[in-house]
Structures are given as structure tokens and as C-alpha cells.
């Protein structure tokens, strides 16, 4: 900024000051400052959370080192803490949820955006947004009282009779398991995928579709080969959002996962997740080491989210490139 203009001195203040004033009048500076602050706040909050988790988990980090990530004993009485079963449970349930939710979510987004009559599309979209607003404890209760009995009575016996030889369907089924948690999570995250993907699909420019149709492509060919690739970045974004939600979900998961810190190949076995153990044990954790270990679990969850997000990004980019070459 050069000089501050004095009112009435000259009709037009010179140089930089003039453009500043003009920009101010146009709201440019203000808008920049406000949006910058908003964006910076995200960064600052994330950094602060990371720093606090790191600082508060010092005792546990010093005592266990990297072994914290690779040992499976969780014994608050003896003061031995290992995070592996919790990491395993978090990853398995989230991946399972994504495997179910991605095809369903993208499928219904395509239907709503491209195929359905506007009235049905709007009504369904409203319902989906309602679904996203249901509190997670409700999903947990529905999981415990409706889903688990159904799984126990019909779904799992059927699965076992067909795929019983596979290691992922071995062992006794008590209702609560990785499997149940994955299904409940998939229902919880599907609205995020549908709602964001639908918006992105709708915003693909009309002339793209018209060009494709003019070249003789069918409706479905247009959707699958032109519209969806165009929207792929946005769809990816919706999947990351869903993944983050699945990794951090606490209440619904703890109600259906069985809360048993163990590592089992079978999806039908009970397990535990990071967010669930923190919520369960934090209030009654008294010793400094115990508290510190729980906080380190929070830090680990941060790390797991980071790594899984990165892996998903690489995977999707790789498949997208392969698609482009063929």
C-alpha cells in the first residue's frame, strides 16, 4: 500500500491505493481475507489436534515405541498396551463398508442423476439426505435389534452353506462381528457417496452428453463412457468422505462389533475398533500410562486415516489411468 488517500484531496487517488480502494469496494480484499481465514482455520485445527495427540501420548510413546503398533495385548491392569487388534478391526470394517457402499452408492447416484424422472430423483434425494442426518446411535440400535437377528437367522447360515470353506466365513457367529459392523457402516456412509456423486454427475456439462449422443452412443454408453469419467474426481471425493466417516465412527460400531481385542481372519468373529475402544475406556481410565495409551490410539487413527486415504487415492488413480488407456 502506498499512501492512504485523503478524502477530497484529489478525485482519484493514485496507483496502488486506488486499486486497493476499488478492490475493497468490490469486496475482493474482504472476501479474500474471510475465505483465507476459513481455509487456514482448517489447517490450524488439524495441526493442533495432531500436536495435542502427539504431546499427550508422550508417556505411552516412550514406553512402547513402535511396538505399540505391532503388539496385540491390551491389559490395563498390567499396563501393557498394543494397538494392532484395534487397527485391524478399524481397517477391516471400513474396507468392508466401502466394498458394499461404493457400488451401491455410485449405482444409485447414476440412476438418480441420469435415469430417473426429475420428480422421483428429487424425492429420493431428499430421503437420502434424511438418512445422512440419522444419529449413529440409532444405526447402532437398529443394528443390534434388527440386523443382527436377521444375520443370525438367515443371512449367515446361507453364506456359510455356500462359502463355508473360505477362511473369512469360519467359526461360530454370535451376531456381533466385523461383518455386522461393516454392514451397519455401509448403510451409514452410502448417503455421503450418493448425495455428493449425484451433484457431480448432474453438473457434467450438457454439451458433452449431446456430443456423445450425436456420435451414435446409446444412453447408457454416454453415461458410462462420458459422464462418469468426467465426474470421476468428484466421485472420488465422495468416497474419501465416506471412508473418513467409516474410520471415525464410534457409537454404531461399538454396539455391533463385539468389543473383543483380537485378530481373526473370519469376518464372523467379534473384534474391536480404535474409535470404539477410546469411547469405551476413556472415562474410567485413571493411570497416566493408560490415558496416554488411549490418546496414542487417537494419533494412530489419524495415521490410519492418512494411509488409507493415500492408498485409496493411488488405487483409484491407477484404475482410472488403466481405463483411459484401454
Amino acid at each position: 500500500m502506498a499512501t492512504t488517500p485523503v478524502l477530497g484531496e484529489r478525485a482519484l487517488p493514485p496507483g496502488g491505493a486506488r486499486s486497493f480502494l476499488m478492490r475493497l469496494r468490490g469486496g475482493e480484499e474482504i472476501a479474500y481475507t474471510i475465505t483465507f481465514t476459513a481455509a487456514a482455520a482448517i489447517f490450524v485445527i488439524t495441526a493442533l489436534i495432531c500436536y495435542e495427540l502427539f504431546a499427550q501420548s508422550e508417556i505411552s510413546r516412550h514406553k512402547f515405541g513402535w511396538a505399540f503398533l505391532f503388539t496385540s495385548e491390551w491389559d490395563p491392569v498390567a499396563g501393557k498396551f498394543g494397538a494392532l487388534p484395534f487397527i485391524y478391526g478399524t481397517v477391516i470394517t471400513s474396507v468392508l463398508a466401502l466394498l458394499i457402499a461404493i457400488p451401491q452408492g455410485i449405482g444409485s447416484a447414476i440412476f438418480l442423476a441420469e435415469m430417473a424422472p426429475a420428480r422421483i430423483s428429487n424425492a429420493l434425494t431428499f430421503l437420502i439426505e434424511l438418512l445422512a442426518a440419522v444419529p449413529s446411535v440409532i444405526y447402532g440400535l437398529l443394528g443390534v435389534f434388527i440386523l443382527v437377528p436377521v444375520l443370525q437367522k438367515s443371512v449367515v447360515p446361507a453364506l456359510k452353506s455356500v462359502f463355508g470353506a473360505l477362511p473369512i466365513f469360519q467359526g461360530a457367529f454370535y451376531g456381533v462381528s466385523y461383518f455386522s459392523a461393516g454392514i451397519v457402516l455401509s448403510v451409514m456412509i452410502v448417503p455421503f457417496i450418493i448425495s455428493v456423486s449425484r451433484e457431480v454427475l448432474i453438473s457434467v456439462p450438457r454439451d458433452q452428453r449431446e456430443a456423445s449422443l450425436a456420435l451414435g452412443a446409446s444412453k447408457w454408453q454416454t453415461v458410462w463412457l462420458v459422464v462418469v469419467p468426467n465426474a470421476s474426481t468428484g466421485i472420488m471425493g465422495s468416497i474419501f468422505l465416506a471412508l473418513a466417516r467409516a474410520l471415525g465412527e464410534t457409537m454404531a460400531v461399538t454396539m455391533v462389533i463385539g468389543n473383543t481385542p483380537q485378530i481373526k481372519a473370519s469376518l464372523l468373529a467379534p473384534g474391536y475398533s480404535i474409535a470404539a475402544v477410546i469411547a469405551n475406556e476413556f472415562t474410567e481410565a485413571t493411570g497416566d500410562l493408560y490415558l496416554s495409551a488411549l490418546i496414542e490410539l487417537g494419533l494412530v487413527l489419524f495415521g490410519v486415516t492418512f494411509v488409507l486415504n493415500g492408498l485409496a487415492r493411488i488405487l483409484i488413480m491407477a484404475t482410472a489411468q488403466k481405463g483411459a488407456h484401454s
Binding site: 454370535y174 463385539g258 475406556e281 474410567e284 481410565a285 485413571t286
Partner: protein, 340 residues
Amino acid sequence: MKRSSLYLVVATLACAAAAAGLSLTGAGATFPYPMYSKWFSDYHKLHGDLEINYQSIGSGGGIKQVTEGTVDFGATDGPMNDTQLAEFKQKRGCDVLHFPTVMGAVVPTYNIPGVTGELNLTPEALAGIFLGKITKWNDAEIAKANPGVKLPGDDIVVVHRSDGSGTTYVWVDFLSKVSPEWKTKVGVGTSVNWPVGLGGKGNEGVSGQIKQTPNSIGYVELIYAVQNKLPYGKVRNASGAFIKAELASVTAAASGAAANMPADFRVSITNAPGKTAYPISSFTWLLIPSKIQDPAKQKAVKDFLQWMLGPGQKMAEPLSYAQLPTPVIAMELKAISKIQ
């Protein structure tokens, strides 16, 4: 002019707030919360100038907050251990006093198809089941205490609390008193490393899991079992009798322990002596610093304890808590003078 009148209003409000009196803040155990909230609201009706706020954040949180001095008193279902007492002394420069308020019990509840009556459970059977050593319902250890009951040969499914809790503390405290193996392998705490079993969140999580899982067994608070009409078993006590958990048998457990009551009241009354004592019973305690600087607060705390041990005790039974036995009340009334 406008501004000065605003100041006046603020000043008046401040004075009014000060005159409206005193407020005490406490935090801790969730188990006695219904009792405490009844006491605190009734006491407020009697003494309008005193307000007691209680947050049921869990025993661990109660111990932590009273140690940090962020609340006036704490509450816990398991007594503070020696390390915690030392930490309190170092941070606050005075001792912490334990005052038993009421008693509760933890009961084994189960779902065995075909078994409708009350099972008799020996301590050995309970420890064996929760250690994963007794795996079938028709195991000899269970069958010999239940002649005439047709027990299935199915696998036992163990359900325990997944959240840290005073209920778990009482349950495992009992198991480690009756089973040396439990004591060395698992130990005592609000959360432990369970050898077997599924975790349910809260009493409702445990009972929900049991209802849905045939051949399962778990443990819940007596009050919860009574209110929800859950089936629960009799447990053999230290003198060899199978006792059903009831308010009378819980009070009997405390009377049995009263003879050897230590001066600081930090006593576990699981597996207590006494013919009619229910063995998985426990006190719940208020944690009060021995030095309260503010004379008004000090008096308020002392008066409240006085009242809680007198008329307050009469309010316990309608809420399904067991009253303190008379000798314990007498000891506590003496201990109030330790608050200075």
C-alpha cells in the same frame, strides 16, 4: 447515564448471585447417580441457599477431577489405590477421605434355553467360566450345585462390559478373591484384559447381548436386573450358602465387613463373611478432601454428610439401593470431624 445504569444492574445481579449462596460441584460414579440426584435435589429443597451439582462421568473421571481440584468432591465405585492417594496428597496438600454412601451388588445373569429357574453358581464355576476353563453348561462344577436342573451340553458364551466401569471392578474384585488364577492372570480394574468373551456397552449392552445369544452368561448391576426383570443366579458366599442378591443380603455383606472396617473406609466387601451375606456386594464412596479452605463450603459439606447418613439413608430402598449398616454409619459420623 445509560452506561452507569447498566453497571448498576450488573452489580446488583452479582450481589444477588452471591447472596443466593453456595454451590458445590461433584463428579464421578454413574452407578449411584439416581440416588445422588435424589439426595441433592431434596437437600436443595430443605436448604434453598445450597446447590449441589453432580456430573456422573464415571469413577475414573471423578477421582481425576477431585485430584486436580476442579470439583469440590468426587465419587467412586472402587476405592482409590495407594498411588492415587499419594498423588492426591502431592497435588492438593491434604488427604482425601472416603465416605461410603449406599451399597449395590452385581449379579450373574444368563440365557440358557430350557433353564427357567435360578441357577446356583459356585465361585469356582464363575471364575472357571470367565477364565475360559469351563466351556460347557453341563460341566461338573456347575451341575453339582444344581441337582435336578437339566443343563445343556452347549458352549458357554461369556459377555462382559466393554466400557470401563465400577460394575466390572466389583465383579473382577470378587473373582480375584475366590480364584488365585484370576488374581495373577487378569487382576482387578475398571477394565481388564478378558481371557474370553464378547464386550457389551453398559448394562443394557450386556443384557441385550445375553438376550440375543443362547447359552450366554454375563453380569449386570442388581438394580438393572431387578428393574428389567432379568433372570439372575444365586452365588455361594464365604460361609457356603447360596444367596440371592437382595437389599437385605447386600446390607448383610456390609455388616459382616463392618467388624474389620479400616478407619479410612477403603474396604472391599466382596466375598464378605456372614451367613446371609451376598458375596458380590460393594460400597460406593464420596471422595472429600480433608481440608476445605472456604468455611461456608466446609460447613455445607459436613451438614450434608450428616443429613445423608441420617434421613438420607431412608431414601435408599425405594430406589433399590441397600442402606448402610448402623455400625458403619456411626463410624462415618465420627469421621466427619476429620474435614477441616
